[in-house]
């Protein structure tokens, strides 16, 4: 395995990648450098260009302009079969007429690795993904999760320079998805292959990536560690796509925004004055029981959603419903129908000028 680790960790650079289909710009100048062994997740809604980016890296689609560089070598014009890229697809992609072992050996056979070595390495890979006892099974004799694990073993068996994961978990049920997600991360750390992971599931991206790139309309909106993406979103789109966000009307003045009488600092203090929508995370909202009948931040609890350790409370302020997220123990003090007063934590907030939601429901 250590041999694999040494051979696989290369820097991957995408330089101003562009892909245009007719008049539709699918990818609009994506630049991204992945450190050797890093796992970067590209996150975004359908049609944002993340899968296009992945296919360009794999060589399965042709770039309109820009470069793909693996470890200092320009591979932009290299065919998919000569790129040394391992890929796991969203759809089940095991060759149905081959056993799990034969599937894993296929890439090695293409590289003319001799039979003994081929069997040995394929066996090791199946062991790595915990399926050594399933070597003689065909795809139709494996569950979805097992098939994706074999696909991962198959992709890694060729000791690729880059591992590409195209929403490999989206066809699986929630429980298997969470388990396989952790498994992918464990295996990736073990082999150390530079990995690009594409997903539309923010939880998945934030859970396993070293860095997350949020994409929108063919462009990279923000690239950073998961904590930065969540707590310091660079754009309203990122704020709304990653995690839930309250959209509360306010007034920007002198580098601050006033929301219902509360002054909050801005992420970008140079924002011009005027009316705006403040984007406030539910966890920045807390509740106190209040007997008073009125006030801009006084409302009625209309629903409490139990999420396990935390709960999400919906408060109707009359003209606006605000979400507050808090420990379940705190939330239980405010059952539906209770009059509550909201307090807003003075975290820096982002401003959206566009009245329309940036993220489609």
């Amino acid at each position: 395995m250590s041999e694999n680790k040494k051979g696989s960790s290369v820097e991957v650079r995408l330089e101003d990648l562009r892909r245009i289909y007719g008049t539709f710009v699918a990818l609009d100048g994506l630049s991204l450098t992945m450190a050797p062994g890093e796992l970067v997740a590209l996150l975004g809604p359908s049609g944002c260009g993340k899968t296009t980016a992945l296919r360009l890296v794999a060589g399965l689609d042709e770039v309109s302009s820009g470069r793909v560089v693996f470890g200092g070598t320009d591979v932009t014009m290299v065919g998919a079969n000569r790129r040394n890229v391992g890929m796991v697809f969203q759809a089940y992609s095991l060759f149905p007429h081959m056993t799990a072992l034969q599937n894993v050996m296929f890439g090695l056979q293409m590289r003319r690795v001799d039979d003994t070595e081929r069997r040995k390495r394929a066996g090791e890979m199946l062991e790595l993904v915990g399926l050594s006892g399933f070597a003689n099974r065909f795809a139709h004799q494996l569950s979805g999760g097992q098939q994706q694990r074999v696909a991962l073993a198959r992709a890694l068996a060729i000791q690729p320079q880059v591992l590409l994961l195209d929403e490999p978990l989206s066809a699986l049920d929630a429980r298997v998805r969470a388990r396989l997600r952790d498994e992918i991360r464990r295996v990736q750390l073990e082999v150390g292959t530079t990995t690009l992971f594409v997903t539309h599931d923010q939880e998945e991206a934030l859970a396993i990536a070293d860095r997350v790139g949020v994409m929108n309309k063919g462009r990279l909106e923000q690239l950073g560690p998961p904590t930065a993406i969540y707590s310091r979103p660079a754009t309203p789109f990122v704020a709304e796509f990653v995690g839930l966000t309250n959209r509360m009307p306010g007034n920007v003045k002198g580098g601050e925004v006033e929301v219902r009488g509360v002054r909050l600092p801005l992420v970008k203090p140079d924002t011009s004055d005027g009316e705006a929508i403040a984007l406030i995370r539910p966890e920045a909202v807390s509740l106190v029981s209040d007997g008073s009948e009125s006030g801009p931040l006084v409302g009625t609890v209309i629903a409490v959603a139990f999420l396990g350790a935390t709960s999400r409370v919906s408060v109707d302020l009359g003209d606006l419903v605000v979400l507050a997220q808090m420990p379940t123990a705190d939330a239980s003090a405010h059952p539906a129908g209770t009059r509550v007063r909201l307090t807003l934590r003075a975290d820096p907030v982002l401003i959206a000028r566009d009245e329309k939601a940036a993220v489609e429901p």
């Binding site: 998919a80 079969n81 992609s93 060759f95 007429h97 293409m110 099974r137 569950s143 298997v176």
Partner: protein, 276 residues
Amino acid sequence: MKAGRARFQVFRAVMLVLFGAFFLVPIGAMFEFSTRGTGIAAPRTWAAWTSILTYPDLTNAIVASLELCVITSILMVILLLPTMVWVRLRLPRLRGVIEFICLLPLTIPAIVLIVGLVPIYYFMALNISDNILTLSLAYVILVLPYAYRSMDVGLAAIDVKTLTEAARSLGASWPTVMARIIVPNIRVAILNALLLSVALVLGEFTFANLLSYVNLQVAIAQLGRANAGVSISTAVASLLFAFVLLMVISFVGRRRPPSLAAAATDPQYLTSGQRT
């Protein structure tokens, strides 16, 4: 419930006998005719059968028809399979057009097709070759609709795009993708296409006759005027040959892969309840 099932069994048996009789009675009658002796009370004779190979024109026609079967089948697969895969992968919008073109020969009467083909064959005979095997080009057009439908069903049953891309990313060239990934997964569809092609070519008369070539059916028809017994015995023999050939192709092609059978009896698989 039981009575219903019994009624269905009877219905099935009756239909089987009816259809069996429909197909077998004419063949039986042909066989009976081909073994008749000359004269009213003459005993049965195999003369019409044993003398088949003594007619050199007939032997040549049999060989030519078999060669035509092979060449047509190969040309059909080489032409159709890569085209259909490519259209699915790269030009999905053209699928309707390709389907229309492939099904077109079905709607055009043979005589109309031949009128169109005559000048081409005339040109080929003068400038390239007048060998009977050039008929395979026309036969490819003839078998196109049947072969297309069969292969289309096969390709629809697998995820061509994902399997191809997976193989490409693992280092497979395009010919390898076709030979190692696509063909094994649509083997049954290809076999069906081959079966239809072979059956069609072996039974083809109009094209060969009107283009002045002598294939098996033309030879049988010609022989029918000179020696009806041999003509009929050859016709029965060709039917039997086609039947046996189709059975062989069918059984060989549909055999279960041995490893699959092994996996099905894998004790771990049979006992394992865990499917993650």
